[in-house]
Amino acid sequence: MNTDSIFSSLDISHYIYLSSVLFCIGLFGVLTRRNAIVLLMCIELMLNAVNLLFVAFSSYMGDSAGQLFVFFIMVVAAAEAAVGLAIIVMIYRNVRSTDVGLFDKLKG
């Protein structure tokens, strides 16, 4: 991989824009979808946008802290996904659906 050329010919702002776009796509998904599993996927997408941003900053600055942060985000995302899916399965058992729109029982 011709890595030098990336840093010299590509500005960091492109990565910022790319991850912003990714994050916003994820946000759009969170706002529009109602299937809990898809929502979870959209959140994963947002997390990945953040990861990309961290890696880009970290590489451009030559500082390893950002990459380590990404590592921890991945770790935590795995744990979170496990718990989240468990919750979704639990709900599916009760209501036979994963539609979060059904959950408007509690209103005030």
Binding site: I12, F23, L40, F57, F69, F72, E80, F103, K105
Partner: protein, 471 residues
Amino acid sequence: MKSLLIIFLGAIAVLFFGIKRPERKSLPIALLVLIAALVFIPLDWIAFIHKHVPDWQIKYVPTNMLSWDTPALAFSGVLILAAIFVLGLFSKNKLHGADLLGLMLFSVCGGLLMTSFSNLIMLFLGIECLSIPLYVLAGSRKSDLGSNEAAVKYFLLGSFSTAVFLLGCAFIYGGTGSLDLDSLARATNMLGHMGIKSQLVMAGLLILMVGMFFKIAAFPFHFWSPDVYDGSPNRATVFMATVVKIAAFAAFFRLFHYAFNDIKGWWAMTIAVVSAATILFGNIAALRQQSMKRTLAYSSVAHAGYMLMAILASPFDGFWALLVYLVAYAFSSLSIFFLLDRTSNGNEGFSFDNFNGFGRTNKFGSLVLVIGLFSMAGIPLTAGFAGKFGLFNSIIGTYPWLLVIALLGSAISIAYYFKVFKNAFFGGEQQGTKLELNLMDTVMLGLAVLVILTVGIWPTVITGLQIIPAP
């Protein structure tokens, strides 16, 4: 540090005990673990003041990931204390499996990380470590739809706000090149002094704040909290209302005062506006609720608005005000939620009617009720007043308009807090539900009332403690 280790090991021990033993046995172990952890807080405090940090700690906790300075210890102490009361008072529920207790202890671990982090990575891990067990706790009444809803809402909103929070962190990392609180403080100091407007840092701060507002349920981002509070089992609700709030505000305070104090002009106004909006909205919304649990949920939104003021204040004043307020809020919530929990027969119906004729049947209970509600409403000589007074006092010089709004909010809050008195005391001759308190309940409630009154009458028991000023 020791407290964290003790609680972590204790959690594992509780889980192991829970395999074979009857469930009831694991509660004393969990309580003992927490009390042991609490004992180490003052010891660490003294050690820190006299610079006697033990060698092993320096040796085996290699870098500045966690810093157990005195503010961190103070918040940790309150947090552990609140956790003890949650476990002790809400143990009569059917749900006291060892696994749930273990999860609560894990969650407390996360809270301790949030009070003492000195690196954004640790803050992130702390938030997650606090919330992941809570998602499970919120849904621990598995066949109850309300509990299910609470779990899924809490989970989705929680991970969503984490993503937002992380985006903020990423931008700030890009703008300053560091994740460490000290180097962040140096970087922002430079930015502040040189008058550079770093767009990356500004955008990052804004996004970070939004993430935090989600976590603490401040006004435009509060909508999840009443549903979650309402749907969760009572024990989980109280845990959220006390331990989680303490941890979240300790973290918020630490982050903004340690790292971003030199660029206060960039974020102070946002927080002031959000604080005002939260106070007004929380109180007005609470006024319209029929269910008492929801009323308390909205009132906790309003309380979050008050506590935001501490972030605006100068570090020293803000710290004490926040600490006193957190103590007041935690203990009064605990006592009120306890009474609500016990007066509701079964799981349903947390309306104000639970308290009908309460005052005629329960002398001690009504004392607790009155003191708890007074403290919530901020009537003098209760801890709530001391906390509110500290907060108001710390911002009066800079944000007089915020003070006016906060006072207005207090006046509104009277209307719904005192609604309970109507049911409890003014309701004619009818008899209310008789509380059945065992020895531990009585002692713990008594202690809670004692704390509220002591802090209220003589706040210097807290504010007189010696602290090393924040860096």
